[in-house]
Symmetry: C2
Subunit: 678 residues, 2 copies
């Protein structure tokens, strides 16, 4: 009865104590702050739009001592980093650049939001990467490829005249986590983006972003000269084509003097490219690099290529790019997806990392959850990003992690960069799922400092976005930190990959076998299940993809006994009765993994429901609703995969796990119309 009264009280109080929130404030949330310090408590010299933004943030939100903003050229080695020193009555933020001062302001605001100590600070920050860039896969018609948070933020039809207030909010959010570059449009690029009228629109965005330290990049279509200007071709060795790009560069930089550069998807999945003319990726990239070079622009050339050959798709980027090593200009950087297939819930890292000894490399992550349940599933991706960055390639001996290969530690490149495909759309809460905001946040924070732990990032984000009450922070952090592994468990445990439904990549379709199409577009190609076992043999007896890894990884992955079990089906075709390290046979292990994924999500639901009193009702209900979908989807995945694979294993699903509630034949009939996601 005591409890009952407490419940009733809680229900009665909720409408009064909580105000509805729609998530639009992201992590820049100051619920109890009416205003910050007065302007006379801010010490700074000179006038600059970036400094003005910093001052506004302080007068709006800063509750602490006097703040001095000090530009200091001596700090040039920190790049756009900064130092923060404080006593109880003053904080001094120093940087060689104004943007560093703004970053410093966001830093102290974060300390305030997370209730950290702000006295006796002695902080020195230097970013891990020079270019910290979001890739928007936004189309000019307003749709977003693999976007699950509504239509594009960029209102191309309204630009350049009508300005959405969200452009500035977007820039501010990025600046607050150190993101300093954005590619505005889809890598499957429309040539039109380079038209004069579109460049005028781009200029508006660039002007809005500039004070927030953000440079604009564009994805370009390799066939642009031919398509836009009727040139005879777009051959990179054609002088007319070269001239076209040089003229276009000149035009762009007249409009946007600090334009960042191009992102290029060429000769990949039907996109045009230099190979259309018998040229190499280097030929194509260098032509563009030469055009942008006078203005300081960069080319990010994607390594995501795979031709319709019989070769294991996982090997193809390596096979195409390694022969080109050393042939790229110094303002070209090769942008490599974290794994050799395509943003799966878990992949082995891409063996191309470290293999290009004389060519700068950068990572491409995916924040948008194309293969992780769209904006319906809660999956905190910092652990995925960290897993990749911390992977040791052994390219330059032990300790050659992908982080160190790409951040300038091991390779002295002209510049360093890290990218991720954004999950941002016009939804009020920006990312569809409230918790998907954390993935935008996590990418920014790791791009700034890849040594941050996932736990630390989650901790900050929760406190800033919701509350610092430990009764909320702890259980919710537990959800976040285990969530990506749960998704792996209920979708594709033990190294399984790409058994998604065709096209939309939402639900399971392990039975997918698209006759007449490319084998490597069919799930059965990837799981290779038969009566003997399951998994893709990438050892010497199979595709020998393991040979692309540096010693000792080639041996380690080539041997089933030394392969990490979370990748065992990535590298091996494993017998159903193979004995796993915990003593279970493979079939059982697989079943328990799927079940574990479902169980975890059911637990997330319980945990979240208990959080009701700590969250505003609007976000509470939204997340609660998405978790219901996640649970149903987890059961769907588990049933589909276990019932399908059981046809080969011919063994019962262990009897202590929750039974399937679906019929395999019914699941096979599901054809989702996913058009509504845009």
């Amino acid at each position: 009865m005591q409890n009952f009264k407490a419940y009733v009280l809680i229900f009665l109080l909720i409408p009064f104590s909580m105000f509805a929130e729609d998530g639009s404030q992201l992590w820049l949330r100051f619920p109890n702050v009416k205003n910050g310090i007065s302007a006379d408590k801010i010490i700074s010299k000179g006038n600059n739009p970036t400094i003005e933004i910093a001052k506004n943030e302080l007068t709006n939100f800063w509750q602490g001592q006097t703040v001095e903003l000090r530009t200091d050229k001596a700090l040039k080695n920190q790049k756009d980093g900064y130092t923060i020193k404080s006593s109880s009555d003053k904080i001094t933020i120093s940087s060689s650049k104004e943007i560093g001062l703004l970053y410093g302001v966001y830093h102290i605001l974060r300390l305030q939001q997370t209730k950290s100590n702000i006295n006796n600070l002695n902080i020195t920050e230097k970013p891990s990467y020079d270019v910290r860039i979001l890739n928007h896969w936004d189309n000019l018609d307003g749709t977003i490829e693999r976007g699950y948070a509504g239509y594009s933020l960029w209102k191309w039809e309204d630009l350049p005249n009508k300005i959405s207030p969200r452009y500035k909010e977007y820039a501010r959010a990025n600046a607050s986590i150190g993101i300093n570059s954005v590619v505005l449009n889809n890598v499957n690029a429309s040539p039109n983006i380079l038209r004069k009228d579109y460049l005028d629109k781009v200029k508006v965005l660039a002007d809005i972003f500039r004070p927030y330290g953000i440079k604009v990049y564009l994805s370009v279509n390799f066939a642009s000269p031919k398509v836009l200007s009727g040139l005879e071709n777009s051959d990179p060795l054609n002088k007319n084509v070269q001239k076209w790009w040089k003229d276009k560069a000149s035009e762009i930089y007249q409009t946007i003097p600090d334009f960042g550069g191009f992102l290029v998807k060429a000769n990949s999945e039907g996109q045009p490219g230099p190979q259309d003319y018998g040229r190499t990726h280097a030929d194509g990239a260098n032509m563009m690099a030469d055009a942008l070079k006078p203005y300081g622009g960069n080319i990010m050339w994607r390594a995501f290529v795979y031709s319709p050959s019989k070769e294991d798709r996982a090997k193809q980027a390596y096979l195409e790019f390694v022969p080109l090593d050393g042939k790229f200009r110094d303002n070209v950087i090769v942008q490599i997806k974290n794994g050799p297939i395509d943003f799966q819930p878990r992949e082995a890292f891409n063996p191309l990392f470290g293999a290009l000894k004389k060519t700068p490399e950068m990572v491409e992550f995916q924040i948008t959850q194309e293969y992780l349940g769209f904006s319906n599933h809660l999956a905190f991706l910092a652990p995925l990003f960290k897993e990749v960055l911390d992977s040791d390639t052994y390219s330059d001996g032990k300790g050659s992690t992908i982080a160190k290969l790409t951040d300038g530690t091991l390779r002295k490149n002209k510049f360093t960069a890290i990218s991720a495909v954004a999950n941002i759309g016009e939804d009020k809460n920006w990312t569809g799922h409230h918790f998907a905001q954390a993935n935008w946040y996590a990418f920014g924070r790791l791009a700034w400092n890849h040594s941050l732990s996932s736990e630390q990032i989650a901790d900050e984000w929760i406190k800033m976005t919701f509350t610092d009450n430990q009764d909320f922070v702890k259980p919710v952090k537990d959800i976040m930190l285990t969530s990506r592994e749960s998704v792996v468990d209920y979708m594709m445990p033990l190294g399984l990959h790409h058994i998604f439904a065709s096209g939309h990549h939402y639900g399971p379709e392990p039975w997918g076998d698209y006759k007449g199409g490319r084998p490597d577009w069919s799930p059965v190609y990837y799981h290779q299940a038969n009566e003997k076992g399951i998994g893709f043999d990438r050892t010497k007896s199979g595709s020998n993809a393991v040979s692309q890894y540096f010693p000792p990884l080639d041996e380690l992955y080539g041997n089933i006994k030394t392969t990490p079990e979370n990748l065992i089906l990535w590298f091996h075709h494993v017998p159903w009765d193979y004995k796993m390290k915990d003593g279970k046979m493979l079939w059982e292990e697989l079943a328990y993994k799927y079940d574990s994924g479902v169980k975890n999500v059911r637990e997330y639901q319980k945990t979240w429901d208990k959080m009701q009193t700590y969250v505003d009702s609007e976000r509470f209900a939204h997340v609660q609703s998405r978790l219901k979908i996640q649970t149903k989807d987890a059961v769907w995945w588990k049933d589909a995969c276990l019932l399908y694979f059981q046809q080969f294993s011919k063994q019962p699903i262990p009897y202590d796990i929750e039974r399937p509630v679906h019929e395999l034949e019914d699941l096979k009939k599901i054809k989702l119309n996913m058009g509504h996601h845009n």
Copy 2:
């Protein structure tokens, strides 16, 4: 690994050791019997079609000693009962009637199937009821009202010329469990059933059923004289009408000399009846009774009536019939549904039982699962039937159970009867769900002997239908014996009732509130949930339905403290924070009940999956598939009811139970098309 090998072995062996079965054999299953004893080991005198059937069963299936079939007029008091006496070399079955001998043969076959001892038998059996009757709600167009096993067995268009082999199989199955009467057609009766051409069809069925001891009854439409013959009305006091029925009776008995009689639904749910002419149910019933009397026919007059008045529907049958007590002919029996509403998963018993002191009463059960998940849910109904029969009405003092009131023990009526609405259709397995066969079986067995326990009936049925292996019998019996309570738990625990979706009665619709219609056709009328509590107040402060019960039940049900908790919401509007006997408050108790229902069904799935090696693959897969549906439906029920009632209780669902996976608003949109069930 040991286990693994065992699994593989099992999977390899299944195809060879089991033969596929479709359930068409019901409980008359003799899988390892090629033939029975030779004809010369059967001792019997005279020739009779019923004796021939008995002999055939013995020569086909009986594996034991010599059998003597002995008619013995001295056993007349046993009615169609029998005695069985045996030594190791001979069994003697005696009865005053040939049908008693056939029942005795099915008895010893059951002993053989259940591996019981057949030596030194000394059995005396006498049926609990004279008339043990199935009510088929089959329409003349082949559909079945509330039928979930396909279309009707009766092929009216083919009759009288084309004879389905299933007519005889049906009669045999009924005879094997002692059912001796059937109503062929729906109580919402077409007048056409009394047309000459239909009576000729009925005659064919009656001729087939006769050797199996089965009499045919018909449901008749009270307006038949007017509709069929153009009489000015169907007023029971109209001499022309009376003559019409007498002529019709004569016609019927010329065609079917042992015709059983009429079942009548009058002035109920729109059906015509004597009240259309200002006459009483007694006037109507007696007119028909007089017509059939010369031929020994009976009238079963249904008490299922409720008018569109403001009076609590649960009170109306009592209010209409008690004033008529003593006014019915002695060949009229009032057929009363077990509960005062309508075959709910659990109801309080109908207070009309015992209230008619001078009028014979009989129970109407429902075998078909109109309100228990159709043929998708496994719900063994013997415990429901027993619960009703064992209910003490206190009408004639303590111990006045419904069984004793209706079986002749307390009231010396001309004849006794018990009825149930059949669940039989043309599906190969007869009843849709294999386990629904057990409900047909259980009704027959209890109609024969209402002192049998549910456990005993389940035990017999499992052994006869599947296997006598205790590793199968025990767990499956556990499922069966708990199944009805599980359905109550996930649908309508604690006395909740009639919160089904409108019309088809399959899924939940507690929000149902059909404006403009009768209030008592809306779920909200029955659950009465509001911010204070939930339940229908039938005490003095409410409808005072409790006053229809004999002391001390009126007081016991009128007091919330003494009302059995499994009926608490049937009789009381209970505050959400009411403290239940286990210390939980009502809201929690409700939530845990729903959860318990879901959990149980999930456990049934596990148990059944473990039974795979003991069952043929066809029935295994069929039951497995239905259990999946049952689990999904149980979750649907739980989510719908808890999320809906939570709007009133305003309390959290206890956090240790599985969370909802549905949105209330989505569930409200579900509109099932249930047409396919016929």
